[in-house]
Symmetry: C2
Subunit: 421 residues, 2 copies
């Protein structure tokens, strides 16, 4: 009997290292041809499974698969699509089983954040509830660092490094200019509900007085007067003020500082524009000359300044997913277990998908200083190991050399097209 094939898909917002997980998974699967046939990657995530658009990764060279380790974003395409509950839309699951059967798929690997692990969990129930034998393993990924159980999420360490490096550099810039020009610099970073990424900006401050002088966390209600007073105090004391603002920064009543009014496919409000909102507030109230930056995609795609620790862990999660599957584990997700801070050491652990799905890990409140504007030493101890090490991509002609795969689709075997809602 030929071994079962595997389905792998990337889901949700991509990161600088999600392809490193794909690399770990495919390279490890290739070492077990007796147990795992081909690895099919979903074209645009789970949507590729439903629409029977399966990429045959066996057609990619070893060199190209290895190059995934240094290539940011989702090499097979990602999606923001959440499966319904089995009770709500049985057709989705029947379709998945149809596709899995047609392509002899016995393993399902889903690489994503909280919403995606929810999807992975639902697929894992197919075995039990619909009698189709499938081994389902989630692979953690999210720049938001908000998955439970795992000490940290692959993707976060690199965005943390990007933000800390950027703040350190921009702070030198404004420090040079503040005597006769710009007094306030604001950098807006991602993190819808949790302040992990904003907190990472705090790593740039190595001694008292260093930038950033103010971090705005979603966890701490924004108080306009207090904020403006703090900006003024910093400008008077240090000559300038550097602010890191989470896109999720919000007023006491839960209103985001900058709510664009748009919503994404999950019904989440689409954010953007905290930095200009704050800049205008400062200009009008204090009159300071300002500059602001919104890093947006640049921060999560910045493979050029990725954390080596992050790359290593992302790879390890992909590798572990195969190992878990081969060990017959179903409905689980490999996690990162921290064994010690100094020296930093970690190992691969395991969490049940039933408990991972739809849980958000918030910043512990003791990671935020009492004034609400800075990180504590324990937060620094937690964050610092995650940005350690550089792992530069190769450069050709002055630019990083990122791989573009062939992404050849497997011939469709089903006669029907799936109708998306």
């Amino acid at each position: 009997m030929s071994p079962k094939n595997a389905f792998y898909a990337q889901s949700g917002g991509v990161t600088a290292v999600i392809n490193a997980s794909a690399c770990g998974l495919i390279e490890t699967a290739r070492q077990h041809p007796d147990k795992i046939g081909k690895v099919y990657a979903g074209h645009n995530g789970i949507v590729g499974a439903l629409s029977e658009e399966l990429i045959d990764t066996s057609l990619e060279s070893c060199e190209d698969i290895a190059a995934l380790k240094h290539t940011p974003a989702g090499a097979f395409g990602s999606c923001r699509y959440k499966l319904h509950n089995l009770e709500e839309n049985k057709a989705e699951y029947e379709r998945l089983i149809e596709v899995f059967k047609a392509h002899n798929i016995g393993y399902f690997f889903y690489n994503g954040g909280g919403d995606s692990q929810d999807t992975a969990y639902k697929v894992s129930q197919i075995s039990e509830k619909m009698g189709y034998p499938i081994t389902c393993v989630g692979i953690p990924k999210t720049v938001d660092n908000d998955l439970p159980f795992t000490d940290n999420c692959p993707g976060f360490g690199s965005v943390a490094k990007y933000v800390a490096v950027s703040i350190k550099e921009a702070a030198l810039d404004i420090a040079s200019m503040c005597n006769s020009s710009t007094k306030v610099f604001i950098m807006e970073v991602m993190g819808r509900h949790a302040g992990w990424i904003a907190a990472a900006g705090g790593l740039a401050a190595e001694k008292e007085g260093d930038a950033p002088h103010i971090i705005l966390f979603p966890e701490i209600a924004f108080d306009r007067e207090q904020f403006l007073a703090r900006v003024e105090q910093c400008v008077k004391q240090y000559g300038y003020c550097v602010v890191v603002a989470s896109e999720g920064a919000q007023y006491e009543d839960g209103r985001f500082l900058a709510d664009s009014g748009n919503k994404d496919a999950f019904g989440h409000t689409q954010l953007g524009g905290v930095a200009p909102t704050l800049a205008t507030m400062i200009k009008h109230s204090l009159g300071y000359k300002y500059h602001w930056a919104v890093a947006d995609y640049l921060q999560r795609a910045a493979r050029h300044v990725a954390s080596a620790t992050d790359v290593e862990q992302a790879y390890a999660m992909g590798k572990a997913a195969i190992e878990f599957a081969l060990a017959g584990r179903n409905a689980v997700m490999p996690i990162i277990v921290r064994e010690s801070d100094k020296p930093y050491s970690w190992r691969v652990g395991e969490a049940p998908l039933s408990q991972v799905a739809n849980q958000e890990k918030k910043m512990p409140i003791h990671f935020i200083k009492d004034n609400g504007y800075a990180i504590t030493d324990s937060c620094r101890e937690y964050l610092s190991p995650l940005i350690q090490g550089e792992d530069y991509p190769p450069y050709v002609n002055g630019l990083p050399h990122y791989v573009t795969l062939k992404n050849q689709l497997v011939e469709k075997k089903l006669r029907t097209e799936f109708k998306f809602d």
Copy 2:
């Protein structure tokens, strides 16, 4: 007779490599103790000369001076302060001479862009018009790449590399997501009157269809309908659309797309917000989901991804400034002369300050494709050598190790304070 001391100052917006010029200047000066005494750096540029705040660089260790080569921004502080004409404000020049005399200063080095070279030129006239013997050499610097005579400006190559790398990375991100999510990504970059930095984004496109699909140059009048049609066409053809927008993008009547209404010390309108303006336009007219980034200071401070060519040239300009001064050249500026594109080679040349000052080098119109949205092959040939090579700073604890100098001020010798306007 003890040799004359030198005054060096940084001026205007700082860059990732202006300190590399300082490094080249100070290291070279130290090799000629018989001809150049101490190098005094102006605390916050020319303002430091007027206020007699002189930093004694001889107190900095060789290691720290060497570290300037990999440290972004202005290590001695910069300023936006333009000297008046000799006729308008003779007191400024009399004060300079007073300070120069008090500290035995016979060399004046000014590191900056167009406005700063104007200041350097005015100082150079002191010899002739006011009888104080001083050798004055400008050192080119500006991310805007708009100085005349020199093939390119130190500082530009690194911001060009940052923008090209960032666009390449963000384009992979949106390509991964466009099937079910974001369709348009807009990155706003610096460049008030010239599209050099925006053009550099074009280097990310290595083959037909690659991002960026649209570049908005200040040189080409913005046409809303044509722009929206092009965005729609790209989304239909490629699945997504990446836009690089210069902060200086403007309508036919010269109105900037996003005019904040603020002005800087030179009377220039302070810009920012083209990206959100375009995003809103696209959302309202085409309904596409968008993301946007404004790099602002991040782009010009990004020493972590500096161009090795740029670092080398910045260092060479500082070194050449000393060599010119020692050769008795006055009122000149070292420039970069391109000798060939492929293989790229260049040498140090010389331009007269009288002709450099207040001239802006625009993008040649044949560098922009006929459709107004892309760069031509000749533009690519010009730009490509400038981003070649990586020159990573050392990292400690996951962050670049940038030097902070002692910056000890020389004891004041004058009894009076200078009164700024």
